[in-house]
């Protein structure tokens, strides 16, 4: 697993207070991990901070699973 994937999962576990086993790439933040819409905004803010990137709103809307986040960050994080 890539370093980016590790860091993304760590943020998700910490932020949503879910068990690490549940945080696989297919997990949907809202349906599988119990996030509400405000949590998803906060997750995006946390990713921006951790990876020092800006995630525009239209991109943020496409990030609905853990895998989406990892893919976006692998492509866009320095």
């Amino acid at each position: 697993m890539s370093d980016i994937a590790e860091r993304v999962k760590k943020i998700v576990v910490e932020h949503l207070g879910v068990e690490a086993e549940k945080v696989n790439e297919n997990a949907n933040f809202i349906d599988d991990l119990g996030a509400d819409s405000l949590d998803t905004v906060e997750l995006v803010m946390a990713f921006e901070e951790e990876f020092n990137v800006e995630i525009p709103d239209d991109a943020a809307e496409t990030i609905v699973t853990v895998g989406d986040a990892i893919k976006f960050l692998e492509k866009n994080a320095g």
């Binding site: 405000l38 905004v41 906060e42 803010m45």
Partner: protein, 245 residues
């Protein structure tokens, strides 16, 4: 009670009567304050009076870019932002049928749109820190309406609706959003009234007198305090009984 030591506040319209009183009161409770307005000399004078824990941020709230620079600037100057007071406001009164688009647009831009943009920017950092207080200065007119103030009343009612919607979204993050609705408050404008005008106004106020800036500021201090953490989406009317809502 109501100790604000260590809190960081941004007050718009701090060069005005109420804004100055609000900035002084937050500061007196121990908060750091960033004071904003368009008149540099007035800002510098207030900053000189307050001494420490004060920052000056000139901004034109009718200008989008100027508004968008305000919260990041205040956060950088103070190392965060806990309390946002959207106090700046203008009137451009006219009979409804004579209201010009321009007078509508300017009043809505300064009184409501700027408050929206500043709140949107401020809440981001507040969510991260799990604490925030947004206080929007509305008006009794926002609840009761007033002839000749269609644009102003719309902007002030808009602030109340906006406060409630935002309050519902961010309550779970330790952020409260409330409004304060002043009635008639002593100001250079009310000082200029003649005896007859004054008498007519006082006749509508059960308390029999105008309010003071300090009385509005005290309401803001309360809503900004830790003690008011369970009060959100509320409109606190401070009007001497003029409208009991």
């Amino acid at each position: 009670m109501f100790d604000l030591t260590g809190r960081k506040a941004l007050v718009t319209g701090a060069t005005g009567g109420l804004g100055g009183a609000i900035a002084r009161a937050l500061h007196a409770q121990g908060a750091s304050v960033t004071i904003s307005g368009t008149r540099r000399a007035a800002l510098d004078a207030l900053a000189g009076e307050l001494g420490e824990r004060v920052h000056v941020a000139e901004a034109n709230l009718a200008d989008k870019e100027s508004v968008e620079a305000l919260v990041p600037g205040a956060e950088a100057a103070m190392g965060g932002l806990d309390i946002l007071v959207n106090n700046a406001g203008i009137t451009k009164d006219n009979l409804f049928m004579r209201l010009k688009d321009e007078d509508w647009d300017t009043v809505l831009a300064v009184n409501l749109t700027a408050a929206f943009r500043l709140s949107r920017a401020a809440v981001k950092g507040m969510m991260r820190r799990r604490f925030g207080r947004v206080v929007n200065i509305s008006s009794v007119v926002g609840a009761t309406g007033n002839a000749g103030q269609g644009n102003y009343a719309a902007s002030k009612a808009g602030l109340i609706g906006m406060s409630k919607a935002l309050a519902a979204e961010v309550a779970s993050r330790g952020i409260t959003v409330n409004a304060v609705a002043p009635g008639f408050i002593e100001s250079p404008m009310t000082d200029a009234l003649n005896e007859k005008q004054r008498g007519a106004i006082l006749g509508t106020i059960p308390a029999g007198r105008l309010g003071t800036g300090a009385e509005i500021a005290a309401a803001v201090v309360y809503l900004a305090s830790d003690e008011a953490g369970y009060v959100t989406g509320h409109t606190l009317h401070v009007n001497g009984g003029m409208a009991m809502l």
